[in-house]
Symmetry: C2
Subunit: 210 residues, 2 copies
């Protein structure tokens, strides 16, 4: 089917929300770990992690700060300028999804949802013990998206933790071997099967293939 | 292994590029279709599509405009403020990857890489005939990321095309059924297998599970 703008806007609200949330394709399933000024840890499932650049190493997460409800992740990052991203393992997708429930401020999703807090060196925010691939970030930039009031928080990667055998000689990370999950929309999780790795491609190579 | 900031920066350039490009997890493999003022079509593989919001329906793509080499996608979007995103089917990942080669300005990636230009209604930019899920967007906002000079282009979805049977009653899109591919780093493609869909979760539901 083909939907035009007015037909998209006329969809029932939940259907539109789910459809539009799925339309970009697969998203990375990540748990964002933060800590409050009072030392209370927080963990939240995010599908909006975006690679921004590799030198300096930067990534972004999209947050929605201006709502009636409490936004612990945003508030904690604003308070101490650091956060962790942790890949969700395929065997833990339900636990990860549970972090989207609204817990009380004195409850940590680590405990409530069955994840282990892991502190590495003197990095202030908690990592997820069950995640195989994780990064610690320092807040670098905050960009407001005027069109809808969301905010892209950009962090500089200052620490990485992952098993050596997931990384090839060239630096490729094997997401199938790592068991990292993908997310579609707000609540559907996928496993990943590696199809192929292609070399850097030149115009002449393409011409020869055809 | 654990890498600290200085160790990340000390990695060999290509290895750092590949590692940091993989660290966010799986990315959606999308082909971005544009057209120049002179009517020349362009098609380019992107892994940086980001869901921004569903009301209004917005998504973003990250582009790197300020480089020595030609950036047709950015230039075309600046020229006529529209673009398409098209899911890469798992059977076409090599063709899609080939669009990353630097073709001459008078060559269209549609022809060179074996994709069919599809025009829907009076939408000016070309869609990909081989893609099952696609959206047409109108440029809404341009956000410069000061930390590295990249630009987040935000488009409003004004047209959607996808088969009815990929969409559930609730609006969930089945990416496995659609055969949409994921991308890791710059050049590794993945297929997707649906694991589970979870309902909206309440704090009390989580308490009961544990």
């Amino acid at each position: 089917m083909i939907l035009k703008e007015n037909e998209i806007l006329d969809l029932e609200r939940i259907k539109r929300l789910n459809l539009i949330n799925s339309i970009t394709g697969i998203k990375p399933a990540n748990l964002i770990g933060t800590i409050s000024s009072a030392g209370m840890s927080n963990l939240a499932i995010f599908g909006s992690t975006l690679h921004i650049g590799s030198n300096p190493p930067l990534l972004g997460i999209l947050v929605r700060p201006v709502e009636e409800i409490r936004r612990d992740t945003y508030r904690n990052i604003m308070a101490n300028a650091c956060f962790t991203i942790n890949h969700v393992p395929v065997g833990r997708v339900q636990h990860a999804h549970n972090t989207s429930a609204k817990f009380e401020q004195w409850e940590s999703e680590f405990i409530e949802c069955g994840f282990t807090e892991e502190f590495i060196g003197d990095f202030p925010a908690p990592f997820v013990g069950e995640s195989r691939i994780k990064a610690g970030l320092s807040l670098q930039e905050e960009l407001e998206i005027r069109s809808n009031g969301t905010v892209l928080l950009i962090g500089r990667i200052i620490m990485l933790s992952l098993p050596d055998d997931f990384i090839s000689e060239e630096g490729y990370v094997d997401l199938e071997l790592a068991g990292s999950a993908g997310l579609s929309g707000l609540n559907t999780y996928y496993s990943l099967t590696k199809l192929d790795t292609f070399p850097y491609v030149n115009r002449e190579d393409v011409k020869e293939q055809t």
